[in-house]
């Protein structure tokens, strides 16, 4: 066991001696996972006892579980003892020193996405303080929010400053025992985002991780918790349209949303991690548990996601519709190209009366990629007059890729209604020729057709995000026809 090795013991002591914030270099744990590693993480982060206990419980449960059955995914086994579970925020020592050291291909992509020069450096992992004055932006931003009583900070900061909120809500939507990756995340998560919107407050701006300082490297086990008190509203943007430089192979995040009476949470994601090369080498495995709890009556949670990255994506943002008249929405675009595999969808669990949910899923496959939609609609015993409408459209580019749809329905209340529509189409040579005959280049034609196909989902994204997402889509499908 690595825990008993001299190595780790001395490492632990050394870390403690030098302290967490001052000696950055020594802050990476050797690979391996056991209870001591978890104690170490908790200790380094000065966490209260309840949190350490919570982590350990999750870990013990994790040990009793087995990896999920991969369904449509074709995956190499992951060696969990080969991963290092704690690494301090990266500094300029790890990353490139200037833009000159960054892969020109990456820079070209940023340019095509229209990302301002100074931000490109930050995204590429160049030490940001020197080039990008994010602090001043973030400060004005924070002032404005705190006036409204809104809390928006790194998760670890919330643990220090608002432990009562964390204790009350953490794991209340996704329990430590929920699934294999959620248990793992609960045991070892290092940081993430925390949002609290007080009663009756409408958050005056889109909250985006982009503006969050001190948390550029939240690592591979990210934890996000958003709480919207009665009558409040918040729109949260996760991620970035630019491909992110990232050495972590496995990502297992957990996102929990809680909407109380009459509250609304809108959660938008653009995910563009490295998908691996044309031959399927490299790339990120993305296993995320995202769940929203419409705890109060008349509450609403909507998930909007644009997924173009990762080698393997396994993700089902879900809604628990507990409150009467609560509303859940899921709007998704998943693009797979080359050898990418995506297995995504949603779960809508209707528990309250007159609850409603809408699912719109757009899957695009090119190259040899496989794209699966998997959705569960559950109508509980008490979900009288509940309604769901599901629409799944697949677009195929070329004839070596695949699209699969797996809708599951469980209806326990006779007055509940579930509707499902599904279509599959192929970008036709005739559509492309029509566009080209009018003078539109093949590349523009493909992006136009794809964007047309995805329109209903783009409409759900915040304006600036939608434009970037459209460019991104075009980029990730570049050269996939002809």
């Amino acid at each position: 066991m690595p825990s008993s090795s001299e190595d780790l013991q001395s490492h632990l002591r050394k870390d403690y001696e030098h302290g967490f914030t001052t000696d950055v270099e020594s802050d990476t744990l050797p690979p391996g996972l056991d209870e001591d590693v978890i104690r170490h993480i908790s200790h380094m982060k000065h966490e209260p006892d309840f949190l350490l206990e919570w982590r350990l419980e999750a870990y013990r449960h994790w040990l009793t579980q087995r990896e999920p059955n991969w369904a449509k995914l074709n995956i190499d086994p992951i060696d969990y003892q080969a991963i290092s579970y704690y690494s301090a925020p990266k500094t300029s020592k790890d990353g490139p020193k200037s833009l000159d050291e960054v892969d020109p291909k990456l820079l070209e992509t940023y340019e095509k996405l229209g990302i301002p020069l100074e931000e490109r450096a930050a995204l590429a992992g160049v030490a940001v303080d020197a080039v990008f004055d994010s602090v001043s932006v973030a400060t004005t931003f924070k002032d404005k929010l705190s006036k409204e009583g809104i809390i928006f900070c790194p998760f670890s900061e919330a643990v220090q400053n608002h432990p009562e909120l964390v204790q009350r809500y953490l794991g209340s939507v996704v329990p430590t025992t929920d699934n294999y990756f959620a248990s793992l995340n609960s045991a070892v998560f290092t940081d993430g985002s925390f949002v609290y919107i007080p009663k009756g407050v409408r958050c005056p701006m889109e909250l985006s991780t982009y503006f969050r300082i001190n948390a550029a490297n939240t690592g591979q086990f990210e934890r996000t918790l958003i709480i919207a008190e009665a009558g409040s509203y918040v729109s949260y943007l996760e991620g970035c349209t630019a491909p992110q430089r990232d050495e972590n192979q496995l990502h297992a995040a957990v996102v929990e949303l809680v909407a109380l009476e009459d509250a609304e949470i809108k959660y938008s994601t653009v995910q563009n991690w490295y998908p691996g090369d044309e031959n399927g080498v490299g790339g990120i495995y993305n296993f995320v548990t995202k769940r929203g709890d419409c705890r109060g009556d008349n509450s609403k949670i909507s998930w909007t996601q644009v997924e173009t990255g990762s080698a393997i994506t396994w993700k089902y943002p879900s809604c628990l519709l507990r409150g009467d008249n609560s509303v859940g929405e899921f709007h998704s675009i998943a693009v797979t190209n080359h050898h990418q595999q995506a297995d995504t969808g949603t779960k809508m669990v209707h528990l309250g009366k007159n609850t409603r949910s809408t699912i719109v899923s757009k899957g695009i496959s090119a190259g040899q990629a496989q794209n699966a939609y998997r959705g569960l609609v559950h109508m509980g015993k008490n979900a009288s007059s509940a309604r769901n409408h599901t629409r799944c459209d697949s677009l195929l580019m070329g004839d070596r890729c695949g699209a699969h749809t797996f809708p599951y329905m469980e209806v326990k209340n006779p007055s509940a209604r579930v509707e499902h529509e599904a279509t599959t189409s192929r970008i036709g040579e005739d559509q492309l020729f029509y566009c080209r005959q009018r003078g539109i280049s093949e590349e523009d034609a493909v992006s136009m057709i794809v964007n047309g196909f995805c329109k209903e989902v783009f409409r759900e994204l915040p304006m600036e995000f939608a434009v970037e997402a459209q460019n991104l889509l075009a980029l990730s499908l570049e050269g996939s026809i002809g």
């Binding site: 036709g428 040579e429 005739d430 559509q431 020729f433 029509y434 566009c435 080209r436 005959q437 009018r438 003078g439 539109i440 280049s441 093949e442 523009d444 136009m448 057709i449 964007n451 047309g452 196909f453 995805c454 329109k455 209903e456």
Partner: protein, 250 residues
């Protein structure tokens, strides 16, 4: 403007066009008639650059240059427009957005300034009125859910906006009611100009009452078997195509 000489085209191992010769000069309107399956659409597609056809012999020159080496979009930029026999639906893509992208791609390729949204909308609305296209269709997705006649009108509307040098209209009159036919004809006539030319593929001489052609050609089994003036269409209407085949056989 357009010189087609000895054009042989095949699809797979089947030869469809078997030696077409046709010269179109600026200002002229040529009608091409002929039985189903004779190769009219094939000729139109080959001129517009559609993939899947193999030119096995012959050449096509447009404005003095080889046409066959150009991509479909390059031909469009050079002023060639094809009105499709079966216009294609593009779900989710706004009709106006599509056309604006088309006109600006062409302007850009020709070194002209792109039209801004305001100028484009003004112009497009005027043209829509001209060809009797309901304005509500402008904001719908390209051809999606359009009736057969609306699709054909939309083709003419696009032509009116793009103002091509050479318009090839493949059975644009099929499926139109009488009023629409007249309006479409007016659209084409409005485009007539000493610098422009039109190739009209049609089955009905009725269209030629409205658009008076300079020449009428009969395409049969991949060859032009007869060319003549306006009166040839009238003879065809009366006698059908049978007599031409007999004439060709003797």
């Amino acid at each position: 403007m357009l010189e087609i000489s000895n054009l042989h085209v095949s699809i797979g191992d089947q030869t469809i066009l078997k030696g077409i010769d046709l010269t179109v000069k600026p200002g002229e309107v040529h009608a091409i008639m002929g039985p189903n399956g004779s190769g009219k659409s094939t000729l139109s597609h080959v001129l517009a650059g559609r993939e899947g056809y193999e030119v096995i012999e012959g050449s096509v020159r447009y404005e003095g240059k080889d046409l066959l080496g150009l991509s479909p979009e390059a031909r469009a930029h050079a002023g060639i427009f094809l009105g499709f026999q079966y216009p294609v639906e593009i779900p989710g893509v706004n009709n106006m957005y599509f056309l604006k992208a088309a006109i600006n791609a062409r302007r850009k390729a020709n070194g002209l300034k792109e039209l801004d949204a305001f100028d484009f909308i003004q112009m497009a609305k005027k043209k829509a009125g001209l060809v009797g296209l309901d304005e509500s269709l402008l904001q719908r997705a390209v051809n999606e859910g359009f009736s057969g006649g609306e699709k054909k009108r939309n083709e003419i509307f696009q032509m009116a906006v793009l103002e091509p040098q050479l318009a090839i209209l493949d059975e644009t009159d099929s499926g139109l009611d009488i009023d629409a036919l007249r309006i479409v004809a007016e659209g084409v006539n409005a485009l007539r100009d000493p610098e422009r030319a039109v190739i009209l593929v049609t089955h009905y001489q009725r269209l030629l009452d409205y658009i008076v052609p300079d020449y009428v050609h009969v395409l049969s089994d991949g060859r032009i078997v007869r060319s003549g003036g306006r009166e040839l269409a009238l003879t065809l209407e009366e006698k059908g195509y049978g007599w031409l085949k007999e004439a060709a056989a003797t």
